[in-house]
């Protein structure tokens, strides 16, 4: 036990005396969360729009006002001719241009066939489709207000409601993903790098020729990083709730239990990597390739798994972060209880067991 404690203290010295490691360990989660939470979101907020309006009547004025009043758009100005449309897009700060037809109000009232055109920047298709979707729904709304009294029959207007995330906040999708990624990164990469460092500097050679058992060496590496991960978990949760406005609708205890389970899986994965590599650089690269890329690409954090080819879908089943993300989304956003995450808990537990057995079996108690 004394061996164990002194080893943990030793590991604490290593971490605390390496300023960069310390900075990375404690700040990286926050930086990543803020980056993903704010900058990479597809939410539309205060997008500038311009109007080309040859009619200038009640209808066009009404639509313009409606758009300008919303939180999604802010009015930038009128264009004098259709030629200017391309010019304003090139200048870069306009996201949407609304082009009205001639005599809008008249044609609306008399022929019932008024035309307008929405022009958006297609080089960013996600944003473009979101913008046009918002604008369309507002225009439809205006039309209803206008024609509401007339009771035009046979008109079906679908009203789309996004359950659990009515305002389509990007952070709802990104925060669980970032949590999975950060925990995996810190746990797996740091443990594998720190064991590889002992091998690289030759201290492992000395440790092996001592009464210390491989299990002790492994566990004493795991414990400090487990604590750091718990601290990270706390900061991530605090930032996502108080800065990004994530709700925790379900039980906090269940959320923490699942996170600890996932941390354990990540640590075991890190140990497995470290049993295969001898150099810190290699450990770093392998962690980056084996952990971060698949977690970002295949966990459903960035691209929906449902749209992937079958092979990638099967591959995504092997990614622990995918299961963790599914489970914490259920808990945090949908507010479901334990019974609905049993499958995820079972999969993660099985992975943990498999990985830890493999890494202890694979630990070399000689040099080759």
């Amino acid at each position: 036990m004394k061996q164990f404690l002194v080893f943990i203290r030793k590991e604490y010295y290593h971490i605390s005396r390496d300023t960069w490691t310390m900075v990375i360990l404690l700040l990286l989660p926050i930086v990543m969360l803020v980056l993903f939470g704010f900058m990479m979101s597809t939410e539309v907020k205060n997008t500038k729009f311009a109007i080309y309006d040859p009619s200038r009547d009640v209808a066009t004025q009404g639509i313009t006002n409606k758009l300008a009043m919303s939180t999604y758009f802010s009015f930038s100005g009128y264009l004098d001719s259709p030629d200017q449309i391309e010019k304003v897009f090139r200048s870069g700060d306009i996201g949407l241009v609304v082009v009205f037809g001639e005599r809008m109000y008249e044609s609306m009232m008399h022929t019932g066939d008024a035309q307008l055109q929405l022009v958006a920047d297609g080089s960013d298709p996600n944003t473009a489709s979101t913008l046009t979707m918002y604008a369309t729904s507002m225009i439809v709304q205006y039309q209803q207000e206008l024609t509401g009294d007339l009771k035009i029959p046979y008109r079906i207007t679908p009203e789309v409601k996004f359950l659990y995330n009515p305002t389509l906040k990007g952070s709802y999708n990104f925060v669980p993903g970032v949590m999975g990624m950060i925990l995996m990164l810190i746990c797996a990469m740091m443990t594998s790098v720190s064991i590889a460092r002992e091998k690289e500097l030759g201290t492992m050679e000395v440790l092996l020729v001592s009464p210390m058992r491989p299990v002790q060496i492994i566990l004493s590496k795991v414990v400090p990083y487990f604590f750091i991960s718990v601290i990270n978990l706390a900061t991530i949760l605090l930032v996502s709730v108080f800065v990004l406005g994530m709700p925790i609708n379900g039980s906090l205890c269940l959320l923490i239990f699942l996170s600890l389970l996932f941390i354990f899986v990540s640590l075991a994965l890190g140990l497995l990597i470290s049993s295969a590599v001898d150099k810190q650089m290699v450990a770093l690269l392998v962690s980056a390739l084996v952990l971060i890329l698949p977690v970002m690409m295949l966990s459903g954090m960035m691209f929906p798994i449902e749209n992937m080819p079958a092979v990638l879908r099967w591959l995504s089943e092997l990614i622990p972060a995918k299961w963790y993300m599914i489970a914490i989304k259920k808990i945090m956003i949908q507010g479901l209880g334990f019974s609905s995450v049993i499958k995820e808990v079972a999969v993660l537990s099985a992975m943990a067991l498999l990985l830890i057995t493999a890494s202890i079996k694979r630990f070399k108690y000689r040099l080759e």
């Binding site: 004394k2 002194v6 080893f7 010295y13 290593h14 030759g202 000689r366 040099l367």
Partner: protein, 343 residues
């Protein structure tokens, strides 16, 4: 009836004899701290272009007595580190049997790891930990404390004490080695393995280091030390000369030197590098090696005298020629024993 009891008697006698033999055998082996029998090791290096099969050690056999300071002397690449790793249970030999304090390195490796101290050739302590912290970590790893065995390291640690708050990575080469020795000693090992402890260390520190080893020997600790420095060989009780994975000779340094079979001369002149080629071109000269300030040579037969050689060299244009008869050193013996000189 008579016959059967007689038979019983002989049987018992043989049985007793056997147990006596066993007892005898164990006492004789218990004087040995280490025995190494025909150990061989090959490395297979898989490069993308070819499969290289390098022989690191070939048929190595030697024994080390308890309390002995045993040196393994050989140039870089002789196989010293591989041998030490096999002896310390870190590598498995391809063939051969090694016993350390009676324990087999393959089956009883855990027992050995409790009993020995190992100091690898490369500085292998935690560079970001202070002197004191390093020592403490290694003491705890071996389930002991600094206080418990302080008497063992006292003489060495006293020199380190002023720097005990300094990080190990910031120590000088000599200080690092002293700290590494302290860490390897802190659990009072029965056998101490030091792999090239003085490589990269200044001459003064080297001398101090060897004085420490002598003091440790007085504490009844068996020490195996490897070194590429021939001048350190004479400080060991017995040495094994290792070259290209083979042991050339095992004996006391004195015996090895006294068994040197030739008359040895040292020659020097104004142009040392030309002198060596000239000397080697003289047919009567068996061997010529550069030893820094002079060249050491041996003759094929004793007919050649100092004067004849001087005349020959003067003819070749050398001046201020000094020729002296000298005693052989370990290095001369090493050169003589190496297969190059025989071939």
């Amino acid at each position: 009836m008579m016959a059967s009891s007689k038979l019983e008697c002989t049987e018992r006698w043989t049985f007793n004899f056997n147990t006596n033999m066993q007892a005898l055998h164990t006492t004789s082996t218990s004087d040995l701290a280490l025995s190494c029998q025909s150990v061989s090791k090959r490395y297979v290096r898989n490069s993308p272009f070819e499969k290289v099969n390098v022989s690191a050690l070939e048929d190595i056999s030697f024994e080390v007595n308890r309390g002995e300071l045993f040196g393994i002397i050989g140039p870089d690449g002789a196989g010293k580190t591989t041998l030490f790793r096999i002896l310390t249970t870190l590598l498995l030999a391809d063939s051969g049997v090694v016993r350390v304090e009676g324990f087999d390195v393959v089956t009883d490796f855990r027992a050995i790891r409790n009993e020995v101290g190992y100091m690898p050739g490369r500085f292998s302590l935690y560079q970001d930990l202070t002197v004191e912290e390093n020592l403490n970590v290694f003491a705890k790893v071996f389930n002991t404390s600094i206080e418990e065995n302080y008497h063992l390291i006292e003489a060495i640690y006293k020199q380190l004490e002023p720097f005990k708050k300094r990080r190990a990575g910031k120590l000088s080469g000599g200080m690092k080695q002293k700290l590494a020795l302290c860490c390897a000693l802190i659990h009072k090992p029965r056998v101490l393995f030091l792999d090239e402890p003085t490589t990269g260390v200044d001459p003064v520190s080297r001398k101090e280091f060897w004085e420490m080893l002598k003091r440790l020997k007085a504490q009844q600790i068996t020490i195996l030390v490897s070194t590429p420095y021939m001048d350190e060989a004479s400080l060991c009780d017995r040495i094994a000369l290792l070259l290209q994975g083979r042991i050339l000779k095992i004996d006391t340094p004195q015996n090895i030197v006294s068994q040197y079979p030739h008359e040895l001369w040292s020659v020097s002149s104004d142009e040392m590098s030309k002198l060596l080629t000239d000397l080697r071109n003289i047919p009567a000269i068996r061997s010529g090696y550069s030893f820094g300030e002079s060249h050491h040579i041996t003759f094929k037969n004793k007919e050649w005298s100092m004067d004849a050689l001087r005349a020959e060299l003067e003819k070749l244009g050398h001046s201020s020629i000094v020729i002296k008869k000298i005693e052989a050193s370990i290095e001369d013996c090493f050169m003589d024993l190496s297969p190059e000189s025989k071939g």
